[in-house]
């Protein structure tokens, strides 16, 4: 009796053990099934197309979410207007609920102007927009708005982090038919609506942050102008008489000073 019971328990433990192991094996076997080749091809085509543009203007209506320490979720909106001449001229204007910002880059210097506070700061800058994005992030903790538009299709795209990719069919964005794709990668689920036809541009982006249970989202609807008219003065900062020059805090000192 005891022996049979012992065998039964042993069998049960073994079975449970196997059951626990199996899904992991199954997962690694099926992982490639979760990436639809068509979804990756579309993403790569979009990136290639973006990298082929010589200049463009894009306006984004953005809704973002913040989670307070007790879980309360707040929504804020802003518009971002970008004028870019590749590889080394950039003008970004951000107007939002709580701040107004102007980023200017002319291939030599980078300036950030906070309109409402009347402060601006200027530093020397590397020769290309993609290098600028890396430098201001590393040194000053600043993310150039919509920096994805400059990184997709290039060496710093995080495409290899994607663990799932799915084509969810047609989707309309502002009257333009797009194809709706969804991707998953560590800490982030995201979706893009890519315009169909000869101009595979991202028309809408939704990023869902997974590192907080409240899953805050960031949504951008993009309107493109592939034939902007402008002159070089658009990328040069002309400080208003009552603006004051300040400095950028360097990242390591900001962390030490206790960015909350």
């Amino acid at each position: 009796m005891k022996r049979t019971l012992g065998y039964a328990v042993a069998l049960l433990v073994l079975a449970t053990g196997l059951a626990v192991c199996m899904p992991a094996q199954e997962a690694s076997g099926k992982k490639s099934d979760l990436i639809e080749p068509a979804a990756m091809t579309a993403l790569n085509n979009m990136g290639t197309y973006l990298r082929s543009l010589k200049d463009f203007q894009v306006k984004a209506s953005v809704t973002s979410e913040d989670i307070l320490s007790d879980g309360e979720k707040l929504t804020f909106t802003h518009t971002t207007d970008i004028l870019a001449q590749l590889p080394n001229k950039l003008r970004v204007e951000v107007e939002g609920d709580q701040k107004s910002r102007l980023f200017l880059y002319d291939g030599k210097t980078f300036t950030l102007f906070a309109r409402r506070a009347g402060y601006y700061a200027t530093v020397d800058a590397p020769p290309t927009i993609s290098e600028l994005i890396g430098v201001v992030n590393e040194k000053y903790g600043i993310d150039i708005p919509l920096l994805d538009l400059f990184l997709w299709g290039g060496p710093h795209a995080s495409t290899n982090e994607i663990t799932e990719a799915t084509d969810f069919g047609p989707g309309d964005v502002g009257g333009i038919t797009c194809e709706h794709y969804a991707y998953r990668q560590p800490g982030l689920d995201w979706q893009v609506w890519i315009q169909l036809g000869d101009h595979p541009l991202p028309k809408k982006l939704v990023l869902t942050t997974l590192t907080d249970d409240a899953r805050p989202q960031h949504t951008s609807v993009l309107t493109w102008n592939l034939a902007p008219s402008y002159n070089d003065a658009a990328f040069v900062f002309d400080p208003p008489t009552d603006a004051h020059k300040i400095v950028f805090a360097e990242e390591n000192t900001a962390a030490a000073a206790g960015q909350n």
């Binding site: 979760l34 973002s64 609920d97 950030l112 102007f113 969810f168 315009q195 000869d198 590192t211 002309d238």
Partner: protein, 185 residues
């Protein structure tokens, strides 16, 4: 008669007391909590970026329905908005007030920052000011909002804010304006 009046009076008094507004200058409630996280704004991270997706739990979902209703009729609309007239205003016209403290610096997160303090606005200024002057005497400490009654001064080409006897140096921290307490310049 008196029996009826007394409870009525005390009831009214109680009502008045509870209905009276909170102390002028502070809000009678609300959430003054700090921001614990913000929605990520970028899929790709610049090289050397702080890893916002630090939770590397890449366990694949085994229950995954890949095929949803797939409409094979695709409207092939190749219209691209080709607006060739752009009003390009290259003059940076600024209409702004000089009183910095009414516009709270708020890191909305798309600068990759860790988020900070959420102040709802003018109503909390008094409460915040009290805290700021109490703790701000420590040189090197950083605040996101100035106390009231500051003036902008320039010393050796550097901008400072003088608030009473405390001096702050404004700076951009990850795209937000912050103020560091400094010695008198």
């Amino acid at each position: 008669m008196t029996l009826y009046i007394r409870p009525f009076l005390s009831f009214t008094l109680a009502l008045l007391l509870t209905a009276s507004p909170a102390i002028a200058g502070t809000r009678g409630g609300g959430n003054n909590g700090s921001v614990r996280s913000s929605s990520r704004a970028n899929v790709n991270q610049p090289s050397g970026a702080k890893n916002a997706g630090a939770n590397r739990n890449a366990s694949a979902n085994t229950n995954r329905n890949n095929n949803t209703n797939r409409n094979t009729n695709v409207n092939n609309n190749t219209n691209v908005n080709r607006n060739t007239n752009v009003n390009r205003n290259t003059n940076v016209n600024v209409n702004r007030d000089v009183n910095v403290n009414t516009h709270t610096s708020y890191n909305s997160g798309y600068y990759g920052g860790g988020g900070c303090c959420y102040h709802s606005g003018v109503g909390t200024a008094a409460a915040v000011a009290a805290a700021a002057t109490a703790t701000a005497v420590v040189v090197g400490s950083m605040v996101h909002t100035l106390p009231p009654n500051c003036t902008t001064i320039m010393a050796n080409g550097v901008t400072y804010q003088q608030c009473g006897s405390t001096y702050y140096q404004p700076q951009f921290s990850g795209g937000s304006t912050t103020y560091v307490v400094v010695n008198q310049p």
